[in-house]
Amino acid sequence: MSDKNKPSKIILEPDQRKQLVNLERRFLLRGGLTLGAVAMLSGCNLQDGDEVDRVLWAMSHWNDRVQAWLFRKDKLAQTYREDQITRPFRFNAFYPEYNVPDIDIPNYRLEVSGKVDKKAPWTLEQLQRLPQAGQITRLICIEGWSAIGQWRGIPLKTFLQHIGADLTAKYVGFKCDDRYYSSIDMATALHPQTILALEFDHKPLPPDFGYPLRLRVPTKLGFKNAKHIAALFVTDQNPGGYWEDQGYNDFSGI
């Protein structure tokens, strides 16, 4: 990763931040459940957050399976015309805009690991020389809003083939320079519209939208489109993700 030696703009350490978010989530979930329980089933004991939590996680895993089954590898997301692009496009991250990471572009390397033959890191120039594909598609946020944007980059399938990835492995995981991490299933990774984007709106990716490299996957919810990707790995163990580990649905296909 290129910003390893730089002082962080984010004040909390990752572990502290994670703990804080988890605590917050736990408290809110319990609070919500208790109020919900009172409103819904005043006689039944829904107060035990852990028990209900377990059921909700189990249902979420069941929904993962249904979504994987619904996913069609040849079904393309709708594409739009240039004049339908949302301007200005919306900034969205798990931190405010002033915390967008500084990345040392000249020293940037994309690290590659896991079930792949060629583990050499990639420079931006090398990435730019690979075949590129563009798209104007709708990014849909889990919050409900959506925005149409133009991206261009390397089809992830092409990249995986270049690094000799085991295409029968289950997941492709991403580690990012803003401490974000996420993953997608292999079927989605091989989808023709899933790209490692280098450009946004015909220009190199701006800092707000994930420079120098981001995932653009129009068959998944927005939070799966990892920005500022520093490392990519292929694995059979579900790597989870920043939001996935807190309770957002893991598959989150659309």
């Binding site: 919500g32 059921v55 709708r138 919050e143």
Partner: protein
């Protein structure tokens, strides 16, 4: 009391579906309000105590868990209602004129509540809320899987429009529930009938 065979006004499947639906709808509406709050369509949000799940991830987890109960229950009810003739017997015949007439009577408090048959306003309300339910499920599928169900999204006029359809169908159901509950409060003897089935409370010296 004359020995009249008391046939339940509400058949068992109606009562079971009704109460499962009450729980599922409350869960769906409360968690849905939480999801709405994350990106409101209008200039208001729902108070936190009226939402279920505590945070967006919790709201969605509830919404996508309870939806299975709602869908299974709704599907069973629709199939049973058609096959058993329940819908035909209870909701038809129905004409706009009859609805207009009964609505006029109801607004002047002149419409007597019949325990054995629905008046035209009731029929229209029940059919309307069923339609809202179907719209809710279809628009919900469009929002959940806009790529896989792209045909459905196109039918609703796009992703953004499907969100509005989902919201207004929810509003229709909630408006129905408010009126429905007020009616039960006004005619409380209908409540036990939805629990135990009820019988011929009407003077039943005729068979």
């Amino acid at each position: 009391m004359p020995a009249v065979r008391r046939r339940a006004f509400h058949a068992l499947p109606v009562r079971v579906c009704h109460w499962i639906n009450v729980l599922a709808m409350v869960g769906m509406v409360m968690s849905g309000w939480g999801i709405y709050n994350a990106s409101p369509l209008f200039n208001f949000t729902f108070p936190l105590p009226l939402t279920l799940g505590g945070w967006l991830g919790g709201n969605i987890a509830w919404h996508l868990a309870v939806m299975w109960a709602l869908a299974a229950n709704g599907l069973f009810y629709l199939i049973w209602g058609v096959v058993s003739g329940h819908f035909r017997q209870r909701f038809f015949p129905l004409s706009p004129r009859a609805v207009g007439r009964d609505l006029g009577l109801a607004l002047r408090f002149r419409l007597p509540h019949q325990l054995t048959e629905y008046n035209a306003v009731q029929k229209a309300m029940y059919l309307g809320v069923l339609l809202c339910g179907v719209l809710l499920v279809l628009s919900g599928l469009s929002i959940w899987k806009p790529v896989q169900f792209s045909g459905l999204v196109a039918l609703f006029g796009g992703f953004d429009f499907a969100r509005y359809v989902h919201f207004f169908a929810m509003s229709g159901v909630v408006a129905f529930v408010v009126i429905h509950v007020v009616m039960v409060l006004l005619v409380p003897k209908t409540l036990p009938r939805m629990i135990i089935g009820g019988g011929g409370e009407e003077p039943s010296n005729e068979r």
